[in-house]
């Protein structure tokens, strides 16, 4: 089982590889990928260094090009495909049908992975992209239960990759416009959810308020852990009850079901977090590397190491982890 780790910059990429990643994914410094944050991502020069470093260690580099171009900015995405094609990367992670069509025509040798942003939740959807654009792997949305993942793995014409650890999207990726509704910018149209420029924190008489473009997403009392104000992790009032209406700040951690994922035939485990620090990437990569190695050696007796689980919990949103949709209970 392949371990796919995030890299926000060259240092992060080296650290991920040195700590056990089999593959590293990265994005360019523009809205063509879903972590379009300032100070993050790769120029052509740094991407070339990244590919050289990874290949010299016999590791792979994937480029995420997983947002949706529009008529007026198509050229930015097309150029990014060309840049990736020239870089001799190992796979391009794509979401937009038009971009897949272009990449397939212009760079027929370039391996394509279907991004989670393409929202392919069934083997039929995966087959659509496989038959037309020869995609070779699909990253499954974080909305499927373990049973549903098993079924997709059995029926899918290509390899599957699932999220193992990191921030949790509770909505089907690629179809969530909550950020856009509040800020005008979304992962789809801008490459970022709840961009920092719209976030405001204020200490008031009521507590610590977090706002997104003026909308009160949450208000924290003394001693409460605060989370980044994404719309889906705010506290709202429904029928007089104020609570985390959609989800509390929490991270996905699938280590407890690693043997089941292995048995289901999942080919790769992905770590979310290109926006995270190299130190974070180091710690998460080490824990996941050890877990995958231990699970592959003896899946039947695999139990996540308590210190590894504690380490991941400490790195999680709100210091809490969940199995997310993998668990029926969550649904």
């Amino acid at each position: 089982m392949e371990l796919v780790c995030p890299a926000g910059n060259l240092q992060g990429l080296k650290i991920a590889i040195e700590n056990g990643a089999d593959s590293v994914y990265l994005g360019f410094r523009d809205p063509t990928n879903a972590r379009h944050f300032s100070g993050l991502n790769f120029s052509v020069e740094s991407a070339r260094n990244a590919v050289d470093f990874a290949h010299s260690h016999s590791k792979k580099v994937f480029v995420a090009l997983n947002t949706f171009p529009q008529a007026h900015n198509w050229g930015t995405w097309r150029d990014a495909v060309d840049r990736a094609g020239e870089l001799q990367i190992d796979a391009l992670i794509v979401a937009d049908t038009g971009i897949m069509d272009y990449a397939c025509e212009r760079w027929p040798e370039l391996r394509l992975h279907l991004s989670v942003q393409a929202s392919a939740t069934s083997a039929e959807a995966i087959r659509f992209y496989h038959e037309r654009f020869d995609i070779q792997r699909a990253v499954l949305p974080r909305v499927l239960s373990l049973t549903q993942v098993r079924r997709v793995c059995v029926d899918s014409p290509v390899d599957t990759e699932v999220f193992g650890f990191g921030s949790l999207c509770v909505m089907a990726e690629g179809r969530c416009l909550l950020s856009s509704y509040v800020t005008g910018k979304s992962p789809n149209n801008f490459g970022a959810c709840s961009p920092g420029e719209f976030v405001r924190w204020a200490e008031t008489g009521r507590g610590l308020e977090s706002r997104l473009n003026g909308v009160l997403v949450d208000c924290y009392g003394a001693g409460e852990c605060s989370g980044y104000p994404t719309v889906c992790k705010g506290r709202y009032r429904v029928e007089g009850v104020t609570d985390y209406t959609m989800e509390k700040p929490v991270s996905l951690n699938s280590l407890p079901i690693l043997p089941s994922l292995l048995q289901a035939g999942v080919s790769a485990i992905k770590v979310e977090g290109r926006q995270r620090s190299p130190a974070y990437v180091r710690r998460v990569t080490r824990v996941l590397r050890a877990a995958i190695d231990s699970c592959t050696r003896d899946p039947e007796n695999f139990v996540p190491a308590p210190d590894g689980m504690a380490e991941l919990a400490a790195l999680s949103e709100g210091s809490q982890t969940t199995l997310g949709a993998f668990s029926r209970y969550w649904q």
Partner: protein, 302 residues
């Protein structure tokens, strides 16, 4: 432009009972809507009608002169949902609105309408899907008027554009049922609780802003999309079909207002103003103007 757009009635997003649906479509049969979308696109567990029931309703509406299209689920997870989708596609009488790529794969080249969740953001995507049988597309909800019109202008000759102009905006889809979660119920023991909320569950911010609406596994805006003021501009672009959401019984009044503006019998600002009084929702048009979707400009802000 000389040709006036046709009006379509979007699928009912909420879990309404059989009688409420029958009454609603009785009104639809006698309305100015020429195209009617039927079926369930949010949750497969909702069964006010059996498959056969939907077919019969479709036939009734077709005999009343309506073009009937079956909408498909936007988020497919369980094997049973795919089974139902296959059955829907093979119905042999009515075209489908594909709201997921799996539906396109299963139509095997037969004509279909492409829903907003297909993420058709650019001309090349539109071309690819046209080659698969797409005959009409609904833009992504967040797409602004500029890129939308640019895309409409270069659409393949076989493809028409259908623009939503009234209704709450679909914003997100999840595996989790937020209605059941609110009531502390597991999704598989939901007791069909969403049937208790025929207009969804309103979520306010902690300072009482009407913010979002929970509808089972779907989240929509609390504000109501209202492009009535922009209808003259929309009509000038030659967009072929205008959709109003089947999310409120007032949709038939809204349809009359839209028709009156298109027929030059009512001025757009007056109609837009009147449309804001049709429901208790605040109206917005931000996405159309390239702004946050919750924002309102022009007449809607006054």
């Amino acid at each position: 432009m000389s040709v006036s757009p046709r009006l379509s009635l979007g699928p009912v997003p909420y879990f309404w009972g059989e009688q409420q649906l029958l009454d609603f479509y009785d009104s639809a049969a006698n309305s100015s809507f020429e195209i009617i979308y039927l079926g369930e696109m949010v949750c497969a567990k909702r069964r006010s009608f059996s498959f056969q029931g939907w077919l019969e309703l479709g036939r009734d509406l077709a005999s009343a002169g309506k073009t009937v299209i079956f909408s498909t689920l936007a988020l497919l997870e369980a094997g049973s949902e795919l089974g139902f989708l296959k059955r829907l596609i093979a119905n042999g009488e009515f075209m489908i609105e594909a709201n997921d790529v799996a539906a396109i794969q299963l139509t095997q080249g037969h004509p279909f309408v492409g829903g907003s969740t297909l993420n058709i953001y650019n001309p090349r995507t539109l071309e690819v899907l046209a080659a698969q049988g797409l005959i009409r597309w609904i833009p992504p909800t967040e797409l602004a008027s500029g890129p939308l019109e640019a895309l409409h202008q270069v659409r393949p000759a076989t493809v028409q554009t259908e623009l939503p102009v009234w209704g709450r905006m679909p914003l997100a889809w999840s595996a989790r049922c937020y209605t059941a979660r609110h009531l502390n119920r597991a999704k598989d023991q939901c007791g069909f609780c969403c049937s208790e909320y025929p207009e969804g569950l309103l979520a306010h911010t902690q300072e009482d802003q009407r913010f979002l609406v929970l509808n089972g596994t779907q989240v929509t805006s609390a504000t109501r999309w209202n492009l009535v003021e922009h209808l003259p501009q929309i009509q000038a672009t030659g967009i072929e079909v205008l959709r109003l959401a089947g999310d409120h019984p007032a949709v038939f009044e809204a349809g009359k207002l839209v028709r009156a503006v298109l027929d030059k019998q009512l001025d757009a600002s007056t109609a837009a103003q009147q449309a804001t009084h049709l429901t208790s929702d605040d109206d917005s048009d931000g996405f159309w103007l390239g702004q946050p979707g919750m924002m309102a400009a022009g007449i809607l802000r006054d």
